[in-house]
């Protein structure tokens, strides 16, 4: 029976090794989670710490209160940092951009999916190539472009949301078109063909047939573009100049840039309000993408 004992010993050995491995892994997990979450928890603590300054913060605030939030959303210094206005600007801009974007992307994806025409392949490739060029590199040119446009059409010039929205929409086609085209491709042509026999136009097919079928992917694109626009700092920082035009990210930077240590509590409250919805959207979106993908496939 030597072989049996050998296996048993091996099993005990491996199970002990597995236990140690598991414990090590759990230790790593705890350390990693602390690393990942600490900044976030620290900002939660700072937001509810009424003293509001960087130096006097404790991890568990002594007298937790919502003083920072009250000050931020309408305190004495509100005119210096109009947080609600910034939040509204960000939501407004990101909403307009994401809705226009999804419409433009869907139109293009339909054309790439349903028509065969000259230049089709080169346009598809071109759309992909332009977005490889990092958009941060064109920041100076965009600034100059909008300054020039503003000389003639102020509503789309510098320091205006109209101009910023156009700038966000510029490189929007890119990878999104590829993504959506894939979904359009997965919807069988037979649906279009039979509708066409019934006399439907391309527009009717697009609007009444295809779009309802790809609603999940439309939602995913809207949310992705919304988050991307909402989070942008560089472009908004470059094109916007006055406090009341700022988006949230630029506003928060302003808050930190001037009197950082005193404004720490205000910044924390503002950062919390701004990031919690985005984090939630993000975590929800993970499943959404997966279900969007599977649903699209099932329907195709």
């Amino acid at each position: 029976m030597p072989s049996l004992t050998k296996t048993r010993r091996f099993r005990i050995l491996t199970s002990r090794r597995r236990m140690i491995g598991l414990l090590l892994r759990l230790a790593v997990a705890i350390l990693a989670i602390i690393y990942a979450l600490f900044p976030f928890l620290w900002i939660v603590s700072a937001a509810f710490n009424p003293s509001g300054s960087l130096a006097t913060q404790r991890f568990i605030p002594e007298r937790a209160s919502t003083a920072n939030f009250e000050e931020l959303l309408g305190g004495q210094s509100y005119s210096l940092h109009p947080y609600k206005l910034w939040l509204w600007n960000s939501i407004k801009i990101a909403s307009i951009v994401s809705i226009l974007a999804v419409f433009i992307i869907a139109l293009s994806a339909y054309a790439f999916s349903r028509f065969r025409f000259r230049l089709r392949r080169s346009l598809l490739l071109g759309v992909f190539l332009v977005q490889i060029f990092p958009s941060s590199l064109t920041i100076v040119a965009l600034f100059l472009l909008f300054r020039q446009i503003g000389d003639y059409i102020p509503a789309f010039g510098l320091n205006r949301h109209g101009g910023l929205i156009l700038a966000y929409l510029g490189p929007i086609l890119g990878i999104n078109v590829w993504l959506m085209k894939g979904f359009f491709d997965s919807i069988p042509r037979d649906i279009d063909e039979s509708a066409m026999v019934d006399g439907a136009s391309h527009w009717q097919i697009f609007w009444n047939l295809i779009l309802p079928l790809v609603r999940p992917i439309l939602a995913v694109v809207v949310v992705l573009v919304f988050i991307g626009t909402f989070n942008d700092f560089l472009l908004a920082r470059t094109l916007l100049q006055s406090t009341e035009q700022f988006t949230l990210m630029v506003g928060l930077y302003l808050l930190v840039q001037t009197r950082f240590t005193q404004n720490w509590g205000l910044f924390a409250a503002g950062a919390l309000i701004a990031s919690v919805p985005i984090v939630v959207l993000y975590l929800l979106l993970q499943n959404q993408i997966v279900s969007g993908l599977t649903r699209g496939a099932v329907r195709g």
Binding site: P39, W42, S108, V127, A141, P171, I172, L173, F230, I278
Partner: protein, 526 residues
Amino acid sequence: MNKIRHAPKGLRYIALRLLALAVVDAFASWFLYLLTRDRAWPLATAIIVVTLGVNIVNLRTDLYPLRWLSPGLVLLILMALYPIIFTVYTAFTNYSDGHLFTKQQAIRLLAKEQYLSESAPIYRWTAFRSPNGEYALWLMSEDGQAFLARPGEAIQEGIPGESGVGALDEEGIPQSIEGYERLSRANTVRFIPEIGALEFGQLPDTIKVSSLDKAAQYQQRYVYDEARDAIVDSTTGKVYRADETTGTFISSDGEALIPGYQVPVGLRNFKRLFTNPALRGPFGIVFLWTFEYALLAAFTTFVLGLFLALVFNDPIVPGRKLISSLLIIPYAIPSAISILIWRGMLSPQLGVISINLERLFGWSPAWRSDPGWTRVAVLLINLWLGYPYMMLVCSGALQSIPQDLYEVAEVDGANAWQRFRYITLPLLLVSVGPLLVASFVFNFNNFNPIYLFNEGGPPIPGATTPAGYTDILISYTYRLAFAGQRGADYGYAAAITITIFIMLSLITVFSSRYTTRAWEEVSENA
């Protein structure tokens, strides 16, 4: 193949479409008129291309599919492609503070400058005010001639019965002007601050009130003489010739008018970049650090991401889904906000990390003023921001590695390190390799951690252009264009942008061994 059988043919639809096209064309023509008047050729060209394209696509039925693409393509051309081309154009001009305008615009701006000549005609004035606060002046010259002047309109002769001018009183001043009320002496005094701020009449002849009853005619100071291509100062008679190599109006004794204008300067910006010793020093530091930053950022995030993915890839770990949800939270928080939080935590003396290091070791690094430690801080922040993405990517790639390879290796007696080194890593790099190149390129231009943490600082001493030890090329460019105390230099910034672009293109091409696979996938889908 789906032949385009019918573009929709409803008459109403066609009429609506043509109407929309007409509106677009009208708008474009108006814009083009303004642009050509100012000789703003680059933008004018872009508008012409786009407008022509939209028209052709909408008028030719065989281009019907392109109509669907037109909104996206118009935006792509104007807001993504044009800026790229314009960057190239700008790099070869002297576009900078002091040279912001086209020559036409500069001439027009200079023409607005006015002066009061000693021989200027003097008028006695009476003010009229409309209910919504607009003003008109009734002017009497010394020889008894009367004029009516309103802001922004040419001065006209004052004749009773014309332009709503009522009957004159014994002093020759109308009792009323239609739409305006004559101001009494007392009211004139009350409104004099407003009246005094206005210019009446139209350029080049404008009138300003100079005292309670006197008004004087101002004259244009700088007059452009097209024949000589020069600007003449009417006050002194001095001639400023247009110098097309520097883009300034310059007099024979070397005095230049402000503003100047844009001219092409050839390779001058690039020459400055590579030959001017005062610029080359900071540029060299920034240049090297950009490469170090991009490489280290890509490498550190990959290593941590891969490590975490390996640790949690084993199914024996309980709650794997929860753990990975928690670990990707740094990726979900808007990065600008996270960086500012880190800025607070690493704040010297006051930030939580500095305080605790101080407490434990009696010392904490100067995270924001020491060049080396600031670089470390930027990389640490970047690591926190970037590892979740690498973790997600790696755990996806790990799951696609066939398990039997490991079993075979185990039978052959390979230890854990050997299995990792000879199975996991090579197979992983096949799929993750292109993403590492992409991560390098992304971090090469990763502006936010640099700018938001410390604005690129601490500053490099002795640099003639603003530059800091953590500045990467893109933030250096940003500073040159927007934050220079010595004035913005867009031409020079554009030259650096092009340098970055060329380098990135070369890197992408050289690493194409890895990226060809991605390319093939892309073109297969087409």
